[in-house]
Amino acid sequence: TQLLEQSPQFLSIQEGENLTVYCNSSSVFSSLQWYRQEPGEGPVLLVTVVTGGEVKKLKRLTFQFGDARKDSSLHITAAQPGDTGLYLCAGEKVRTGANNLFFGTGTRLTVIP
């Protein structure tokens, strides 16, 4: 059972188009992280957002953390074939003696040249 639902699950777009991926939960998280995973590799961290309402930009990628810290979005402007991959959001819950990352269901993006 995964606490975070991502949508869409699959996305295929033409080079140059914009897209948004959503990550939703009914749980509150201390931070929200976005990862990209290439085939045969482990997830690689793109960004961490900590404050409700926070917006971070990484070149053509814009990440937003919801005000209530339950949801997040990733917006890509002018997508390029190099953006192709599996995008994962992960919410962090801090408990005494441990911190856990709960991953979303993933969005597989294909950018067609």
Partner: protein
Amino acid sequence: GAGVSQSPRYKVAKRGQDVALRCDPISGHVSLFWYQQALGQGPEFLTYFQNEAQLDKSGLPSDRFFAERPEGSVSTLKIQRTQQEDSAVYLCASSLWEEAGNTIYFGEGSWLTVV
């Protein structure tokens, strides 16, 4: 190397066989995590170590799964009497501290196929 190293990268096991998956975290990292990732899914938490202490094993799917980190560095995930539903990528990750927002680094994973 400087990253999290896992071995073997690929393992094919016959149903009923025992397997052991090894993780070498980044040197000095206190926290170590194991995740299971089924095909087309996001990783799911299995267990967490802080140094040699296994503080959370709530994600282990059955008593056939066992993990250890006896000296607080290298960790081994053992699966006994493997079944087909155990086929997945097993990801190990480590982080320097256990504080919130700390960066977690993933290995490339061990791909297990049970036939």
